[in-house]
């Protein structure tokens, strides 16, 4: 599997990272090197092996379905680059 410029640009778009067109060839090459390294996994016989989901067999804890936190709007907004009137502010999303 090799990654061409178009595919590299698509991955960058999916990852929401702006990559200038002149940086794409080097990026595609890096992807190909890393994916080449990963290809080794195809040598392994994984027939009948379930994907690992947890490192130790533990049942996830459950908790009461009650409100346990909240009511701290000022703290939530304290680090926002742009917060107004109690909300996060972003560029216009709907026309």
């Amino acid at each position: 599997m090799s990654i061409d410029l178009e595919k590299a640009a698509k991955v960058a778009k999916l990852a929401r990272i702006k990559v200038e067109p002149d940086a794409l060839p080097a990026l595609a090459q890096e992807f190909n090197n890393i994916l080449g390294f990963i290809e080794q996994l195809n040598e392994v016989d994984v027939e009948g092996i379930e994907p690992m989901t947890s490192v130790t067999p533990m049942r996830l804890k459950r908790r009461e379905d009650i409100v346990s936190d909240g009511d701290q709007q000022a703290k939530v907004l304290a680090n926002a680059p742009d917060a107004r009137e109690g909300f996060f502010a972003v560029p216009k999303v709907v026309e």
Partner: protein, 495 residues
């Protein structure tokens, strides 16, 4: 008189309890060292006022007879831990200016136990790296140098600042985190002890997430005893981390007897890599002989899927990172790019993330995005998770056959020069984690212990891997190895 900053946690604790020193004296001694050590690039946010406040409070507790394990002991905290009101930016530009409104569970536990925070420590950006060279703060520098050579060496990564600070006696101990070897490799590069506990032993709550199924916090210390003391204070169940284990935390220090007679130590054939330097091979053989002399039974074992650990890791870790790092979007915290006329929300995301993330982080986020994308999810991600299950099974079988711990080298070499890998393929850098990454994939505890030096006088470490949840036994074996190795060398001060 011994400089107070050079004390171990155990020595300082005993002196505090006997009234020989105060926490304020200890803290001032460390702060003085921190101030004069900017050349090491270890401390990136200093908190002297907070430290002295905490020290005074600790002294009051000690006087009142209420002195828990870490009371009054000055520590450095890796920048990955969220610390309330103190910059916590995971060495990334994208978290520039972020001051958490909350405290990570691990640092809260340390503070509850009376610990003093001197400041935040350098690291690779989002813990992605093996040399501390991806940090937005610039490099951390290893206090060790090759004999007769002033070239600056890496302290390893990602917990490079923690390793440099402890090795240079700027603090008595430090917190680290380990996703693929980020505690154990820097510990080995700087001649200190570092333990990654069993996955779930320490809460991940409030630690900036890299790869959530692999990340685990642990102590980086001057001795195995110190690692036992500090791990006890960091560990424990936390309802805020659903993967943290609801198991009692034993008194790790009390179980350090140094008696390992009858313990079975496995030596895995697959860790004898092609082209392994003779020095590393000798270090490993010497360590094996030390454990044998201490009464352990040495057994050759096989962990057949070892060679697939790194490629599996470089699917799983970037996949989880691409998901975890999606939150850095310029909306809720940290950096937001300045936008041009007509830029919408997509441009805001794309520009913010291009400006905020460094090169290695961008690369891993995009690799992760690719392996999770439609059409490749099964071929890459699910296959890697199945290989991961096989790697874990290798260890399960060794332990089921009676092996108590596994001895391996910690790293394939001693510390290398800063900048030396700059032109190398990223995969070359990834090979640094070849001996450590299996342990994260299997969720096991692993500890790096300094046991020797290379021809140029740089420290080298061995790794012991233990059974899940049996850190106490693992620490005891490490203690026996530490005593037999008698590693006492210190870096010559040049900073």
């Amino acid at each position: 008189m011994t400089e107070l900053n050079t004390l171990t946690l155990a020595e300082a604790r005993d002196k505090l309890r006997s009234g020989d020193v105060t926490s304020v004296e200890l803290t001032e001694s460390c702060l003085k060292q921190v101030e004069s050590a900017d050349a090491l690039g270890a401390f990136v946010h200093k908190t002297p006022e907070l430290a002295l406040d905490q020290a005074r409070a600790a002294d009051a507790r000690i006087q009142a007879g209420d002195a828990p394990a870490m009371c009054g002991l000055p520590l450095g905290i890796k920048d990955l831990f969220c610390t309330k009101g103190v910059p916590s930016q995971a060495a990334s530009r994208i978290l520039q200016g972020f001051r958490p409104e909350y405290e990570s569970t691990v640092t809260q536990k340390l503070f509850d136990a009376g610990a003093v925070m001197l400041g935040k420590l350098n690291m690779d950006e989002f813990a992605m790296g093996s040399s501390n060279e991806t940090s937005c703060y610039g490099n951390a520098v290893n206090p060790w140098r090759r004999a007769g050579d002033a070239a600056a060496l890496t302290p390893g990564g990602s917990s490079g600042g923690s390793a440099a600070a402890v090795a240079a006696d700027l603090c008595l101990a430090a917190t680290g985190t380990d996703t693929g070897g980020s505690i154990r490799q820097p510990a080995a590069f700087t001649g200190i002890v570092g333990i990654k506990p069993t996955y779930g032993r320490c809460s991940r709550w409030g630690i900036v997430a890299f790869a959530s199924s692999l990340d685990q916090a642990g102590p980086m210390t001057k001795t195995v005893r110190d690692a036992a003391i500090m791990l006890g204070a960091m560990a424990g169940h936390d309802p805020k981390d659903s993967t943290s284990a609801d198991l009692p935390v034993p008194d790790f220090e009390a179980m350090l007897s140094g008696d390992i007679r009858g313990k079975v130590i496995g030596i895995p054939a697959e860790y004898r890599m092609d082209g392994m330097p003779a020095e590393i091979e000798k270090l490993w053989a010497d360590g094996t002989a030390m454990l044998k002399d201490a009464g352990a039974e040495i057994r050759d074992i096989s962990l057949p899927h070892t060679k697939y650990a790194l490629p599996a890791y470089y699917v799983i870790a970037p996949a989880e990172a691409s998901s975890n790092l999606a939150r850095y979007d310029g909306v809720r915290y940290g950096h937001r790019a300045s936008l041009g006329q007509g830029d919408g929300i997509t441009e805001m995301y794309e520009k913010t993330r291009a400006e905020g993330f460094g090169h290695e982080v961008q690369r891993r986020v995009m690799v992760g995005t690719y392996v999770l994308s439609a059409g490749f999810y099964d071929a890459y991600y699910n296959r890697a998770r199945r290989v991961r299950a096989l790697i874990k099974r290798d260890f399960d079988q060794a332990f089921a056959a009676g092996v108590d711990a596994i001895l391996t080298p910690a790293t394939p070499s001693a510390a290398f020069g800063l900048g030396e890998m700059a032109e190398a393929d990223p995969v070359q850098m990834y090979l640094n984690d070849v001996f450590t990454v299996t342990v994260n994939l299997a969720g096991l505890p692993g500890i790096s212990v300094p046991t020797g030096t290379d021809a140029s006088g740089l420290p080298l470490g061995l790794q012991l891997i233990g059974r899940p949840w049996e850190e106490a036994d693992l620490l005891n074996t490490a203690y026996a190895l530490e005593q037999a190795a008698g590693f006492v060398a210190k870096p010559q001060k040049w900073w």
